[in-house]
């Protein structure tokens, strides 16, 4: 049952990821990207990472993809731009590099055996959200604060970049 669920989800995720990469129109890319994100969120749910799955849904499928959608609408890509492709040589070279990366990753997999995911950790009283929060606000408090500063810097950077110079 779990396995069937996994295969259905991963089929959806992989197919929509293929559409993200190969469909011509950026609007379709964005919509299939949202589907991919939702599929990955469901897989994370299956891994009992409920909090991360929700963050994935709200932040990625919600906020980030809407941002992409806005820019796709804003930028008004022309027909000539749509047809513009990389030169054949560069495209094939890129595909070759991507295959090389894949090959490197797969050799790593051959080293690992076939470990099973352990059964649910013996009767946790704490919910997943509580566990993540405890870790985040004790061990990783400093990185957490630094992350907020990083977000502030990104906000200011984005505003400065798109502001009309006068």
């Amino acid at each position: 049952m779990e396995l069937a669920y996994f295969y259905i989800l991963s089929f959806i995720v992989v197919v929509s990821a293929v559409f993200v990469v190969f469909l011509r129109r950026p609007l379709h890319n964005v919509l299939f990207m949202i589907l991919t994100m939702i599929g990955v969120a469901c897989l994370m749910l299956q891994l009992h990472a409920e909090f991360i799955a929700m963050v994935q849904l709200i932040v990625y499928a919600g906020a980030v993809m809407v941002l992409f959608l806005f820019v796709v609408m804003l930028v008004n890509i022309t027909q000539a731009d749509l047809l513009s492709q990389l030169t054949a040589v560069r495209g094939w070279a890129g595909a070759l590099v991507a295959f090389a990366i894949f090959g490197i990753i797969l050799t790593v997999f051959k080293l690992s055996g076939e470990p099973a995911i352990p059964k649910a950790q013996a009767a946790q009283q704490l919910s997943n959200t509580e566990l993540v929060a405890r870790e985040l606000f004790t061990t990783y408090l400093l990185p957490f604060e630094i992350a907020s500063v990083l977000l502030l810097a990104a906000i200011i950077g984005a505003v400065v970049l798109v502001r009309k110079s006068r």
Binding site: V14, M33, I52, L86
Partner: protein, 100 residues
Amino acid sequence: MLTLDHYLVLSAILFFLGAVGVMVRAQIIVVLMCLELMLNAVNLAFVAFARYLGSVEGQVIVLFIMVVAAAEVAVGLAIAVAIFRQKGTTSIEDLRIMKW
């Protein structure tokens, strides 16, 4: 029986697809989106390892990756809009000022 390898292979396939998109696509927005796809693949691997090792630290790291990805998207899309204003195009083939 669902194993760790299931998730890792799926994550590798997603990462590979994202890498192909980054290398092959010509539109700067789609390239950014494929970068997000690669980050998502890595997130999935992190969550799978967190489950496998029975620790929650992998999930915390995924949270930080999401923060960095959001910042990267905000700045990257701002750059894309700025380029579009200046050049009137979003194709990376037309952005060759810094190429020799």
